[in-house]
């Protein structure tokens, strides 16, 4: 289940080398014998020793190795002894191409591992008690596992580097860095952004941005994937917990929290639950225990996003198909992933017209809370502190964008990650998994299954299709797809493409009467959509569009910055792996299936909002002011 099957952009020193099979063994199934600690097995040609060991249930410690990343072979913790070889070999990077005998814990191996850990610890500014990764640190676990009982080669008494707190989203503390380079590989190989690189040599080596600039001044998209893959606390999200506690403690403040779909499917991992344990309703209770005045479901504005973004798509289609206006920038790109938005602003500013002007659900909610909700409850919006629980580090940047103040105030005050929320819940002494269940607060309580699946790659597309099919074709989605599960857009393939012929059209529903008289102009058309997750895959799609390829014919494309979509976001619990993300996705789709209402346009609270507040309908004047936004052509070069 690889999300990325394209050639690596990392230098060859930073990835696994593919060994060409000898001509005679080209036949499929060519296998080689490998003996590990006396046990023999046959493995496919080119399998690494580490992979072979895992198949054989032999544990080899690793640090620079990560299931999502190309292989570096730099930390050397995984060295093993191969009989007949002078030096030890890194098992993660050594492909088995001929029968070999491997020993994983000889004197030399044990000595080397201890020394390597000792060397790392001597150069890691370890303040375990005062570290947010305490108890979830791979270096700490390895030191424990391999019996480190002292600082054999000394320890760092003072930090060497200033902490880079320039970014709204990501904090870099190089004093904690052990130079495994997972962040470098995440950035250049997994995400193809490439703001992080090793600079200098020897013990002066460090991970830095271009020209040693602070992170805020380079093309970082804030996706936070590097944080999820850092074995120590060298990378962290910018933590607003103290400010949020202060707001909760302030009796004058009305503190509300909206919770996105992905955290609820993952927060259990911070409480020793297996990945994919849904804790939606327990979490609601826990948040109230923490002191939040209201707990809202971001799914409400996810549904709102679908209506706004879907209407915008139909308007663009009308412009292109009926008015023959070339300025109708198709395909329309989704805009709910702030990492993706910033990626486009930096790398493809010329494509910005394709971005939907609809705000992300987080920002729509922010604008609605400080206007509609404030008025409804007679609360001064200046006293509202609006917190967003997100699986995401980029959301912290997004809520700080200067244009996100359409309510007259900062629409969303704080973006809080799943990890930070878990820490707050723990600090409040709340045993999350065992909390009683409770529902979300009104007036946004009712959500639909469409909102929840925003958390998984393909979810926005599936939600949009469910609504568009029913609104335009006048038929039930269930007629086309069993249980309204639009399976072709699901899954973890990096890029997915789906065609949907519109055979018949129905009447225009009242909600869209402002814009359309009939759907006849769509009759017989084929809706072409695509889904891409991870910016590396997004890049492939954009390049294809620019070259006039298949994706330039698309009408609507969902992009998510993070592999797996929001459920794999940079604010989610650590660790992450394809298996963990799949488990979270399962929880999300299960929750969708359990909803009575599963189409955004059927959400009664959304309909109520249009009837009573956004009275000129989707993409109308009021919604444009509050629910839509504009973008900044940033480019790659920042002065």
């Amino acid at each position: 289940m690889t999300s990325k099957n394209i050639e690596s952009r990392a230098p060859a020193s930073q990835r696994r080398q593919v060994v060409p099979a000898p001509a005679a063994d080209d036949a499929i199934g060519a296998s080689v014998s490998v003996t590990i600690d006396g046990a023999e097995a046959k493995v496919p040609f080119g399998t690494t020793i580490l992979e072979a060991a895992r198949m054989m249930n032999v544990k080899i410690p690793t640090l620079c190795n990560h299931d999502d990343l190309c292989i570096a072979g730099v930390c050397r913790v995984c060295v093993v002894e191969i009989e007949g070889q002078r030096t030890l070999q890194a098992s993660c990077a050594y492909p088995v191409t001929q029968p070999i005998k491997v020993n994983t814990h000889t004197r030399k191996v044990r000595q080397a591992r201890r020394h390597i850990l000792d060397l790392m610890l001597a150069h890691h500014y370890g303040e375990c008690y005062a570290c947010w990764r305490n108890g979830n640190c791979e270096l700490q676990s390895l030191a424990n596992e391999y019996g480190v009982d002292g600082f054999r080669f000394g320890k760092m008494e003072k930090p060497r580097y200033a902490i880079d707190q320039s970014s709204y989203s990501v904090v870099r503390d190089m004093n904690k860095c052990i130079l495994c380079r997972r962040c470098v590989r995440t950035c250049i190989d997994l995400q193809e952004v490439g703001v992080l690189e090793a600079v200098n040599r020897g013990q002066e080596t460090k991970i830095a941005c271009f020209m040693d600039k602070p992170l805020a001044d380079v093309v970082c998209i804030n996706c936070g994937q590097c944080i999820n893959r850092c074995p120590t606390s060298a990378l962290a999200a910018s933590d607003p917990t103290d400010e949020i506690w202060a707001a909760i403690d302030d009796p004058k403040k009305h503190v509300v929290i909206q919770t996105a779909p992905s955290p609820r499917a993952a927060i259990g991992e911070c409480f020793n639950c297996p990945p994919g344990t849904p804790l939606t309703f327990q979490m609601n209770t826990a948040l109230r225990h923490c002191g939040f005045d209201k707990v809202f479901d971001t799914n409400f504005t996810a549904d709102l996003t679908i209506i706004e973004e879907g209407s915008e798509l139909l308007l663009r289609l009308h412009k292109a198909l009926v008015e023959k206006d070339k300025a109708a920038a198709l395909p329309q790109f989704t805009s709910c992933s702030p990492g993706w938005v910033k990626y486009l602003e930096h790398f493809y500013p010329e494509m910005i017209p394709h971005l939907s002007s609809a705000k992300s659900p987080q920002q729509m909610f922010g604008a609605v809370i400080k206007t509609y909700y404030a008025k409804l409850n007679n609360i001064d919006p200046a006293d509202i502190v609006s917190v967003a629980l997100m699986p995401c580090s980029a959301k912290k940047f997004e809520c700080n964008r200067p244009e996100m103040c359409d309510s007259g105030f900062k629409d969303v005050d704080y973006g809080l990650t799943t990890r930070e929320m878990a820490a707050m819940i723990k600090e409040a002494g709340v045993d999350l998994p065992n909390m009683p269940k409770s529902d979300f607060d009104e007036p946004f309580g009712t959500a639909t299954g469409s909102g929840i699946i925003f958390g998984a790659t393909g979810g926005v597309m599936e939600s949009a299709l469910r609504t568009v099919i029913e609104l335009v074709c006048g038929i039930k989605v269930e007629k086309l797809f069993d249980h309204a599960d639009i399976v072709p857009v699901r899954g973890f393939d990096g890029i997915r493409y789906v065609e949907l012929p519109i055979k018949d059209v129905g009447p225009v529903s009242p909600i869209l009467e402002n814009h359309f008289k009939d759907w006849n102009w769509l009759k017989g058309a084929t809706l072409k959509v695509a889904v891409a997750h991870g910016t590396a895959n997004a890049k492939r799609v954009i390049e294809n569009i620019k070259a006039g390829g298949k994706f330039s014919e698309c009408h609507f494309i969902e992009f998510m910055a993070c592999p797996g979509g929001c459920l794999g976001g940079g604010g989610q619990p650590i660790p992450t792996s394809p298996e963990i993300r799949a488990a979270r996705a399962k929880a999300i789709y299960a929750e969708d299936a359990a909803y009575q209402v599963r189409k955004s346009y059927e959400n009664p609270a959304v309909a109520h909002l249009y009837e009573n507040f956004l009275t000129d309908g989707p993409c109308g004047h009021r919604s444009h002011k509050l629910l839509h936004t504009c973008y900044t052509a940033r480019g790659k070069y920042i002065l």
């Binding site: 930073q14 913790v77 050594y94 030399k108 020394h115 060397l119 150069h123």
Partner: protein, 399 residues
């Protein structure tokens, strides 16, 4: 500087005779000739050149490359500079032969950045060869064999002498060694089969092709055929570049260069071993003391711990920083040497440092880290009296 005199490279020979003879043969015959000559890589590792060529020739690949490793960065080594200054044609001839043998049409000289001043002369030599049809389409009129050479400058990193780091650097990346296997002969420059040979190896290959394997084997020892260039420096009367047959003893070499009475000789540069006087009867050959050619003579007055420190400072500076044992190990060993210097290193810690040295030799990613502790370990073993028992100096009393 001594006059250049020697049996194979610094002797009299007919230019281009090796290339002419090679082009008259089948490719496989060329490889087999080089193979049977017993020629081994002169960069220090001593891999059989013919075998390397054979693997690259057999490797699948649309393109293949011959890379001449002229990133002569080992401290105390300057023989490649002499070859490129006095015998550039012989080196290019060797590259063309290698290109013919493995089926490559493109050669690259990776020239040490500090040798940039050689560039105009080398380019002129290449142009002359192009004009003389010794490079370009149909080399020397041989149909179907085209070969050209370009020169690329390094940027001063010692690690780029390591062949996979060199290839990374050629590809425009930070110079850092790759994971091996696969080796460059299968997956090298731009993913193509690539042979990386030392300057001297290529020059010798040209001589092998001109005079034949049997002639070549007359020089040197059974396991180390041919001659070797030595860059001799330090406490001797006649430092310079010498060509001696392989297997020459250190004592013989010292006599030739006027370095008798030396206390120790560092063979193989910073990454090599320190040989004390009692071992001067040992031979410079792959089967005894292998060397890339650097011989640094230490006179009686030299402080061996100071020498170890000097080498370790070099590695701490030049470690590429990629793998843990080398990046931090070099620094820890350097700090340890300073502790020894000011008499504050316990025996237990010295033992730990030597064990760390072993870890670096075993677990580092490339040859740089694997050889970085060599000098320290051999000096600690052979000059115990000098290394231990330093007068304890109080902290803060600088150099």
């Amino acid at each position: 500087m001594s006059a250049l005199k020697g049996p194979i490279l610094f002797g009299d020979f007919t230019p281009e005779a090796g290339l002419a003879r090679a082009l008259a043969m089948e490719r496989a015959e060329v490889i087999s000739e080089v193979r049977s000559s017993g020629l081994k890589g002169r960069g220090g590792a001593g891999f059989l050149t013919g075998m390397k060529w054979n693997i690259a020739a057999a490797a699948k690949g649309e393109k293949k490359f011959v890379v001449c490793n002229a990133d002569e960065g080992e401290p105390g080594t300057f023989k490649d500079r002499v070859l490129l200054t006095s015998y550039p044609d012989l080196v290019f001839e060797g590259m063309a032969i290698a290109g013919y043998a493995i089926g490559a049409s493109h050669g690259i000289v990776y020239l040490r950045g500090e040798y940039g001043y050689l560039l105009p002369g080398l380019e002129e030599t290449l142009n002359k060869r192009r004009r003389g049809r010794l490079l370009g389409e149909a080399v020397s009129g041989k149909k179907g064999f085209s070969f050209d050479i370009e020169i690329r400058l390094g940027s001063g990193a010692y690690v780029c002498g390591e062949e996979t780091a060199l290839i990374e650097s050629l590809e425009g990346h930070r110079g850092e060694p790759r994971n091996r296997p696969p080796f460059p002969v299968n997956t090298g420059y731009l993913g193509c089969p690539t042979i990386v040979n030392n300057v001297e190896t290529l020059a010798l290959a040209a001589r092998v092709m001109s005079e034949g394997a049997e002639w070549f084997k007359k020089f040197g020892t059974g396991k180390s055929a041919g001659s070797k260039l030595f860059s001799v420096s330090g406490d001797c009367e006649r430092p310079g570049v010498y060509e001696f047959p392989m297997g020459i003893t250190i004592a013989q070499l010292l006599k030739e260069v006027g370095g008798e009475g030396a206390k120790a000789v560092q063979v193989g540069g910073a990454s090599g071993h320190c040989v004390p006087a009692v071992q001067f009867t040992r031979a410079l050959a792959f089967e005894d003391i292998p060397t890339g050619g650097s011989v640094i003579v230490f006179g009686q007055g030299r402080d061996m711990l100071g020498a170890a420190k000097n080498f370790m400072e070099f590695f701490a500076e030049e470690s590429c920083g990629q793998c843990t044992p080398c990046r931090y190990g070099t620094k820890v060993l350097l700090d340890g040497i300073e502790k020894l210097e000011n008499g504050s290193c316990s025996m237990a810690y010295l033992k730990e440092l030597l064990a760390l040295g072993e870890t670096m030799q075993l677990a580092s990613k490339c040859g740089l880290g694997q050889s970085a502790p060599n000098a320290f370990i051999s000096i600690a073993a052979n000059f115990k009296d000098e290394v231990l028992g330093r007068e304890r100096r109080s902290e803060g009393r600088g150099e």
